[in-house]
């Protein structure tokens, strides 16, 4: 029998799959990113639809409890995603910092050139 939590989980996964496709269409995601998210959400969606499948992973993680395995795998995935997000944010922050620094110098040089031209005329 299908439980309420399974239905909610599958609906959320369908939403996330559609959202990944939409982001690809809007060119916010690259093909690689879209594939990553699609695979992840489809896998989680399949697990919601057929929970006993998670039992296949038990020997891989040397665990006996299915819920614990799902939790541990979920935590590892979250950790990897958070780390990836942190790396991306740090990269963007560095680029932004460089941009602001270059802009400060560029603005001053442009203003100085304009003043020189004004005084020259």
């Amino acid at each position: 029998m299908v439980k309420g939590i399974q239905v909610i989980g599958m609906l959320v996964m369908i939403y996330l799959i559609l959202n990944a496709l939409r982001q690809y269409r809007l060119r916010n995601y690259s093909l690689k990113q879209t594939c990553f998210w699609l695979i992840l959400w489809v896998l989680v969606g399949v697990l919601f639809a057929f929970p006993p499948l998670a039992e296949l992973a038990l020997p891989v993680f040397a665990m006996q409890d299915m819920i614990l395995t799902v939790l541990v795998v979920g935590l590892i995935v979250v950790f990897v995603l958070v780390y990836h997000a942190y790396q991306q944010v740090a990269k963007v922050e560095r680029k932004l910092m460089e941009l602001v620094q270059n802009l400060a110098i560029h603005d001053y040089l442009s203003e100085a050139r304009m003043n020189e031209e004004k005084n020259g005329n």
Binding site: M97, V100, Q101, L103, A104, I105, D107, Y108
Partner: protein, 236 residues
């Protein structure tokens, strides 16, 4: 030939102290290029800096769109002076804590060619400078660690008061990580073979404004130190 000197003054909300700092710098080094880097201040710092540039000769005012931290402001100033071909670079903070009249003590050692970078230390001799226990502990710990790794006695690797030559400036423009502690950069300098010295300087108590110290920084500090050690071990 003495070489051309650029003084970089990072300034974040330093309107009340900036005029005194500029006056002292210009009295000490009248021919220097003084670069004030307004780091996205929310007070009158930019207006005060612009007024000062009209009153004194050879003052450049660079302005960040928003606050990036004093390390980034310092790097912006150094990058500008480097592009303009300056030979010696001085960093003096805009909060009035550094005494510009002491700059020759540092500058002479760099100009003589004995050292590539000279740092003004608050702890080389007793100056009466006090700060919170947490900061004192952090400074002492990083100084000990840096001393062990560089095989020379260092007492204040976090001091902002420093003078260096063009070779060091090149490294600052290319590799300086503004969000990381100065400790990281000291290790990089050491590994690159630069000669570093410390000179005792007076450090005044801050009269206006706020320190960059925050609890977020305090939590991140050990992580940054660890990152610096890993980088030192594997990549520099």
């Amino acid at each position: 030939m003495r070489g051309r000197i650029a003084v970089v003054v990072p300034a974040y909300n330093e309107a009340p102290t900036l005029a005194d700092v500029v006056k002292a710098v210009k009295e000490t080094l009248p021919d220097c290029l003084l670069i004030i880097v307004n780091d996205g201040s929310s007070d009158d710092t930019l207006r005060v800096a612009s007024a000062l540039s009209a009153n004194y000769s050879n003052i450049v005012v660079l302005s960040h769109l928003f606050n990036l931290g004093s390390g980034a402001a310092f790097q912006t100033g150094v990058a500008y002076a480097f592009i303009k071909g300056y030979d010696y670079f001085v960093r003096i903070d805009g909060d009035g804590q550094h005494n510009p009249y002491e700059v020759h003590k540092l500058l002479n050692l760099v100009i003589s060619g004995k050292f590539d970078i000279v740092v003004g230390s608050r702890y080389l001799t007793k100056t009466g400078y006090t700060t919170s226990f947490t900061r004192r502990f952090g400074i002492a710990f990083t100084a000990k660690l840096a001393s062990m790794l560089t095989h020379q006695k260092l007492t204040d690797v976090n001091s902002g008061y420093k003078v260096f030559n063009r070779r060091v400036a090149n490294l600052i423009v290319k590799f300086y990580l503004p969000r990381h502690p100065a400790f990281d950069f000291i290790l990089r300098l050491h590994k690159a073979g630069f000669r570093l010295a410390e000179v005792p300087v007076e450090m005044r108590t801050r009269k206006h404004g706020k320190s960059e110290f925050s609890y977020t920084r305090l939590i991140l500090y050990p992580v940054r130190i660890l990152q610096a050690l890993i980088r030192y071990a594997i990549s520099y």
